[in-house]
């Protein structure tokens, strides 16, 4: 095992797969400038040349179809967007083309394409640089949607995504980039479609998506210490395909479920989890599934409103208290994650 950051993990996955398979190439805005998508594409152009790592014009719609054309010709494109919001320009290619091209060919064509995009919160990013959109992508049959949380998962899932013969959308939370964690030294993969039990517990299940795992772990730590509550945290890691089994069996065990999503609630992944759990744990569940996610508003810029827009560890704690009938936890002296110091603007 070695300890690396999430950013390095992504970079390693790209380097490794480009070394392994000459069909893999990386493209998108900013992938070859000096910032290298926050360092995740560092070294690629030097190592593999501008033929396999290149910037493009500002043309998200075209460049998505471009990847599809390359993929059905046996290449393995990795298209990168510095913000998921810009993928909205490519929704036609995603929902009308990528998702159904194989089906319309009667199974003759394969589409081994990866789209990486950065999601969620930056730093006063406002409504057009703050979305997550995994619910929308996962709604469309034919694409896979992956949201790794740890460096280990980031590397292992990105490798799986690159080797997958289908379109895979990999969504990375900006704040995760600086998180460190252990990663195997040898070649490994994390399967797409397998959840991770981040923490075992018997009292309540929290299904947490992407960054919300960090918040959930914090909440669980506090509740363990201060209330003696054992929270089980399940990170689905891949939204589609979804490891329904892992979620169902956890909730059957604990009898309570919170879904801490990182998206809007309405018609979102949180609703899917609530539907799933209430269908399959109908007998076992002791309280309704509680959903947590973005406020039902566009994302504002100013910090006090932005802080309210995004869900966090305190929200999780309060919901758990409510569900388990606990007295309010004393949070004085607790330090919560804040980017005030770690993460200074502008992006």
């Amino acid at each position: 095992m070695i300890t690396i950051t999430y950013r390095e993990a992504i970079n390693q996955a790209l380097v490794q797969e480009m070394e392994r398979d000459p069909a893999v190439f990386v493209y998108g805005l900013d992938v070859a400038d000096h910032k290298r998508i926050f360092g995740t594409t560092a070294g690629l152009v030097e190592k593999f040349g501008p033929g396999r790592c290149f910037i493009t014009p500002l043309a998200e719609d075209c460049m998505t179809g471009f990847g599809l054309g390359a993929a059905i010709n046996g290449l393995r494109p990795v298209h990168i967007h510095i913000r998921v919001d810009f993928m909205m320009l490519a929704m036609n290619q995603i929902s009308n083309m990528l998702s159904s091209c194989r089906y319309m060919s009667g199974g003759k064509l394969k589409i081994p394409m990866v789209i990486r995009a950065i999601i969620g919160r930056g730093w006063g990013q406002a409504c057009q640089h703050s979305k997550s959109m995994h619910s929308v992508f996962a709604h469309i049959p034919g694409v896979k949607v992956v949201l790794p949380t740890t460096p280990r998962d980031a590397k292992g899932l990105l490798v799986s995504a690159i080797r997958d013969n289908n379109p895979v959308i990999v969504l990375e939370h900006r704040w995760l980039y600086d998180i460190s964690g252990e990663v195997p030294e040898t070649d490994y993969t994390i399967p797409i479609g397998k959840a991770d039990i981040v923490r075992k517990g018997k009292d309540i299940t929290v299904i947490a998506v992407s960054w919300m795992n960090v918040e959930a772990v914090k909440a669980a730590d506090i509740l363990q210490q201060k209330q003696g509550i054992e929270v089980e945290i399940v990170d689905p890691r891949t939204i589609c395909p979804l490891d329904e089994e892992a979620i169902i069996s956890s909730v059957k065990k604990t009898g309570h479920c919170i879904i801490a999503d990182y998206d809007w609630l309405f018609c979102g992944f949180s609703a899917e989890i609530a539907a799933l759990v209430s269908e399959h744990c109908f007998q076992e569940i002791k309280s309704p599934v509680k959903r947590l996610g973005f406020a039902h508003t566009p994302c504002p810029t100013t910090r006090p409103l932005e802080n309210k827009f995004y869900p966090n560890a305190v929200d999780i704690i309060r919901i758990i208290e409510d569900k388990l009938d606990l007295a309010p936890t004393d949070l004085s002296g607790e330090e919560f994650y804040s980017h005030e110091n770690k993460f200074k603007g502008p992006f």
């Binding site: 043309a59 179809g65 054309g69 390359a70 036609n92 083309m97 319309m104 009667g106």
Partner: protein, 319 residues
Amino acid sequence: MTESELNKQLYKKIYTIRMAEEKIREIYPLDVMKTPVHLSIGEESVIAGVCQALTQKDQVYGTYRSHALFIAKEGDMDAFFAELYGKHSGVAKGKAGSMHLSSPESGFMASSAVVASIIPVAVGAAFAVKYKREDCVVAVFFGDGATEEGVFWESLNVSCLKNLPILFVCEDNELAIHAHISDRQAYTIPEAVKPFGIHVYSDKTTDPSEIYTIAQKAVREIRKTGKPFFLHLKYHRYLEHVGINEDYCHGYRCKEDYTEWYGADPVKIQRDKLLAIGISEGEIRSVENAADRSIEESVQKAAEAPFSDTCELFEDIYA
């Protein structure tokens, strides 16, 4: 290839397309082809001429209006009709229907019914070809209306910027459904694409061998320089946008146009050409009969073939 051989091949393509479409017009009212059809009648020379200039390895990409393309790129006729009938033996087991035809085996890779959306896919294919140093060219077919979509301009820029081996074939029938080009475009297509640094050739001939000659030059140029080429070719859509009927009665265009274009109808032109270069009526008839027979047989097979089992619905989503 001798000139006579070439012209015979062109005729075979054009005649087969025409007769296949006429066959569809005949069968369609029976309601056994449950798929919207955008027929290629009038368009044959463009497709046949360009495809004649391509090798089998060269790839083509098309739209919902791709019957001609399928046939000219020599896709399997049995699978073609079976697809229109929605049968399991169709190119895509009936999933694709008329609007999403393809035949990857013969180089017709994919088509899309969202206007212009196949263009960037073809650009990506051209990139792949170059990346893999394959000796082949990609041709993408689209209508005049497609040039209005932003992705067309993005694709033009990307392919010129990256010097990709792609042939853009704009089939300009001056119509998008019922809307005339003058109500949709502030530009003229050949003039507007030139500033991207692309070779452009524009013509309104319906003579397939002329189009073949143009396309051959374009394809040679692409193979030599590795750069994109733009063909802007006019034709007249004889029938309604979607469906099997004439629709001059609706007044959005006039029958005189038809009469004028029909004077230079692709099938007639090429048949006369064969006669003029000394191919006998008998030889022509035998080409025609072979095509007729092949269509008849394919239709028969398609009609009798079974549908996919309903569990087929859930196949082919993921690889």
